[in-house]
Amino acid sequence: MSNGQASTPPPAVHAEGVVKRFGPTVALDQVGITVAVGDSHALVGRNGAGKSTLVSVLTGLHAPDAGRVAFNGEPAPAPGDTAAWQARVACVYQKSMVVPELTVAENLFLNRFERGRIRWSRLRADARDLLAEYGVDVDPATRAADLTVEQGQFVEIARALSFGARFIILDEPTAQLDAAGIERLFTKLRELQQQGVAFLFISHHLQEVYDLCSTVTVYRDARHILTAPVAELGKADLVAAMTGEAAQAATTWHAKSSPAQQPAEPAAGDTVLRAEGLALDGVFQPIDFAVRAGEVLGLAGATASGNTALGETLVGLRKATGGSASVDGRGVRPGSVPHALNAGIGYVPEDRHRQGLVLGRSVAENATLTVTDQLGPYGTVLPSRTRTFAQRMIDSLDIKTSGPAQPVSDLSGGNQQKVVIARALARDPRVLVAIRPTAGVDVKSKDALLGVVRGVADRGDAAVIVSDELDDLRVCDRVIALFHGRVIAEFGSGWTDRDLVSAMEGLPAGAGGDKGAEE
C-alpha cells in the first residue's frame, strides 16, 4: 500500500519454508504460499493437510518453527503484536466471531472506541460510513445476532478492512450459505478484489474454487504439492493432487470384493438395517438404504454433508422428521437411544470426549455404561461382575490399561476409542453405527479399531461407518457418498480415492459416480 501502484507490487503475502511441529507431529513441512495483491487464491487439501495450521501461522496465532512470512514485502510482525497483525491480515471463520448481543456498530469498533465516554450517535455514524465505504448494506444499529450469516461475514470483512488489512483469509465461508447467499458473497468479494484486496479462500467445495479463484494451491500431508492457475488445472488433476493418487494406485487394501459382492441381490430377510425415506429437515433429504448381514456400509461425506446427522438419527440421538428405520424388520422408534439400543443398534459416537466417555470415571464404568442392567439382580451393579465384564472387554479388544479401575482419562487416544467401541459392543449389537471411529488415533490403533468394526460384520452382523476418512471407508463393502444432504454417488468396494473424494467435494460428474460400483 505504501509503495502505491508500482509496476509489480510485492505480493500481499509470501511465506516460504514454513515448518510447524506440535510435539512429534509435523503439521507443516517446508510449505510456502504466495498470494498476489488483488488475487483470489484457493487453498485446498484433505483433512490433516495442514490448511488450518497455515491459517494460524499466517494470522499470527502460532509462530512457525522455521521459515519466513512476509506481508507486502515486509517481514511479519512479532508474535503477540495483535494490532500489527490485525493491520495486515484477517481471517473470517465459518463460525461468526462477532459478539452476538452487541450491535453491528459496537462490533465494528470493539476495543477501539474513542477515549472518554462513548458517543453513541457518533459511533453509529462512523459505522455507517465504514460499511458504506465497502458497500455493505447493513444497519449499524442491528443486533449482530439478527444478521444473516452472509451479512455477518460482510461485517467481519468490513471490520478487517477498517484495520487496514488488505489480505483476508476465508475459512469455509460458504458452508452455511444458500446458493443466493453464496452468489452475493462472491459478488462482494470480486468488488473488493477490484480495490486491491487479496483473498485466501479455503473450501471443501471445489466447484467454488473454479467459480471464484484464479490460482489454487494444494497441500497434502503437511506438504505443498502444487500451485497453478485454476484455468490450467483440470478438475481430475486437482483431485489427483489432493489424494496423491497419480496412476490409479489400486494397491491399497480394500474390503475383499469378490465373495461379498457376488450375491448382489440379497435374499429377503437378509437385510439387517433398513432406512426408508429417512429424513431430517434442513440437514439431509429422504434417503433409502439397506445393510445386509455381513456387510459394512460406508456413509461418506464432508463436514456439512449430513452424514454425521444421518448416523445420529439412526442411533436415536436425533429425531427423524420423516421416514423410518428398522432392524431385522422391526421398526425402531425414532429419537430414542434406549429403544435403538434395545433394537440392537450399537453406537460409536463422533467425538469421544463430548459423547463417548465420562472422562473422570474408570475404564470399567465406561465400558459397561450400556449394560448396567446385566450386571446384577434387581437393578444392582455388582463391582465384581463389572470388573469381570470389563476385563473381558479389555482382553478381547486389547485395550492397553493398568486395569479396569484406571480412570479412562489416563489412556491414550486409541485406547480411549477402544473403550468407546467396547461400550458399543457390550450389548452384542445387531448393527454397529460408528461415526468417524478413528479420529485422532495413531496408525496402529486405527487398524485395530477398523478390524474390530470389520469383525462385527464378519461374524454375521452389520456395520455402518460414517466418515470422511478414506482409510475408514476402505473397510466398507459399499460406500454411499453424501453432499449437502443428498446422495451424490454410490460405490462398490473397488472405488478409487479420486472418485470418492470428488464425490465428497461435490463433483460427481467426470469422476463417473458409478464407475466403481458393480451391479
Partner: protein, 345 residues
C-alpha cells in the same frame, strides 16, 4: 496435563501396573480426606474444653447435624448428577407448614388453624408428598422449560419462603400432632432417633449410588451428559427423579427439625443453603457434577459442625459463626483446588 497422564498410562502398560496403583489410591483417599481433619478437631476440642469429649456434647453435635446432613444428602445427589437446587432450605420449612395446614382442624383452641383435609395421622406422608411435589416442580422448570437451574431454584427458594410466611402468617406453629414430632424427639438405643435415621439414609444412599445401576447413572450424567445420553441412559427422567427425591428428603428433614424443637419455626432452614453447599463441597463433591461420594459429604457436615462446636466451647461468641463458615468454605476450596490439581471454573 493430558500429555503427562498419557505417558504414565504407557509406562503402566510396559511395566507392571505399579505406576497406576498410587494414583488409584489417591483418588480413593480423596473421600477420606476429612477424617484426619475431624480427628484434629477432636484433639483441639479436647484441649479447649473438658466438656467436648462427653457423650452429651458429642450426641448434641450429631443431633444438631442431623437435619443439615439430610439437606446435604439431597444436595450431594443433585450436584453429582450435575444440577443444583437452592430451594432445599425453603422446602425444609414450607413442607411441614403446608402439611399442618392440610391436616390441622379449621377450628379449635390452637393458634394455627388449617383446613383439616386429611386425617392427623397422615401428617408425615403429606409433608413428604409436598416435598416431592416441590422437587418435581423444580425438575419441570429445569428439564422441561429449560430455564437456568440456579435462577429457577433461587426463585423457588424465595417463593416458598414467602408461601410459608403467608400460610403460617409469619408465626411458628407450636401445636404439631404427636405423630409428627415423634421421630425428631424420641431416642433409640441411647441416641436420638434422628441420628440413627440420618445414618441409615446415608448408608442407603451410599449403597444406591455405588451399587444400583440408576445410582451409577448419576455419575455418568454429571460427568458427561452427552455420553450418558448416547449410552442410552434416560438422562432427563433420572435427573427429574433425583430432584424430586431431593425435595422429599428436605421435607423429611423438616419433620425431624419440627420434632427436635417441638415447633415449626417461622425461620426454619433460613440461610442454611450456604452451609449445605459448604459441607457438600468440602466433603469432596464437585460443583461441576460427576464426582464425590455421600460419605465424603457426611464427613463435610460433621467437620463443619465440629468447628462450630469447638469454637463455641472455646468461648468464641456465636455471632462469629457466619464468619467461620465463610472462612472454612474458602480454605476448603483452596485446599481441594491444589490437592486435586484441577482448576475450578
Amino acid at each position: 496435563m493430558s500429555e503427562t497422564t498419557q505417558l504414565s498410562a504407557d509406562l503402566a502398560v510396559t511395566g507392571t501396573p505399579r505406576t497406576a496403583a498410587p494414583r488409584f489410591q489417591l483418588s480413593r483417599y480423596r473421600d477420606l480426606s476429612l477424617i484426619p481433619v475431624i480427628f484434629v478437631l477432636g484433639v483441639i476440642g479436647f484441649i479447649v474444653s473438658p466438656v467436648f469429649l462427653t457423650s452429651d456434647n458429642l450426641i448434641g453435635v450429631l443431633q444438631q447435624s442431623s437435619e443439615l446432613s439430610l439437606l446435604v444428602l439431597a444436595e450431594a445427589m443433585i450436584l453429582i448428577c450435575g444440577r443444583m437446587d437452592l430451594s432445599l432450605e425453603s422446602t425444609i420449612g414450607v413442607a411441614p407448614v403446608i402439611a399442618m395446614w392440610l391436616v390441622l382442624p379449621s377450628s379449635g383452641p390452637a393458634t394455627f388453624h388449617g383446613i383439616g383435609l386429611f386425617p392427623t395421622w397422615s401428617s408425615i406422608p403429606v409433608c413428604l408428598a409436598v416435598g416431592l411435589v416441590i422437587g418435581a416442580v423444580n425438575g419441570f422448570l429445569i428439564l422441561k422449560l429449560r430455564v437456568n437451574g440456579f435462577i429457577a431454584t433461587l426463585g423457588m427458594l424465595t417463593m416458598l419462603r414467602g408461601l410459608q410466611d403467608g400460610v403460617a402468617q409469619g408465626k411458628s406453629i407450636v401445636a404439631v400432632p404427636a405423630s409428627f414430632s415423634y421421630l425428631g424427639k424420641t431416642e433409640w438405643m441411647g441416641a436420638p432417633a434422628a441420628v440413627w435415621i440420618c445414618l441409615l439414609l446415608f448408608v442407603a444412599g451410599g449403597l444406591a449410588l455405588g451399587y444400583l445401576r440408576h445410582g451409577r447413572a448419576l455419575y455418568a450424567i454429571g460427568g458427561n451428559t452427552e455420553a450418558a445420553r448416547a449410552a442410552g441412559i434416560r438422562v432427563d427422567r433420572i435427573t427429574w427423579i433425583v430432584l424430586a427425591l431431593g425435595g422429599l428428603i428436605a421435607a423429611f428433614a423438616g419433620v425431624l427439625y419440627a420434632g427436635h424443637y417441638g415447633a415449626i419455626s417461622a425461620t426454619q432452614g433460613d440461610g442454611w443453603i450456604f452451609q449445605v453447599f459448604a459441607a457438600t463441597v468440602i466433603g469432596g463433591v464437585s460443583l461441576n457434577g460427576g464426582r464425590g461420594t455421600l460419605f465424603g459429604a457426611l464427613t463435610g457436615v460433621v467437620s463443619l459442625q465440629l468447628v462450630v462446636n469447638v469454637t463455641t466451647l472455646g468461648g468464641v461468641p456465636p455471632l462469629w459463626d457466619k464468619f467461620l463458615y465463610g472462612a472454612i468454605i474458602i480454605v476448603a476450596l483452596i485446599i481441594s483446588r491444589f490437592a486435586s490439581g484441577e482448576k475450578q471454573d
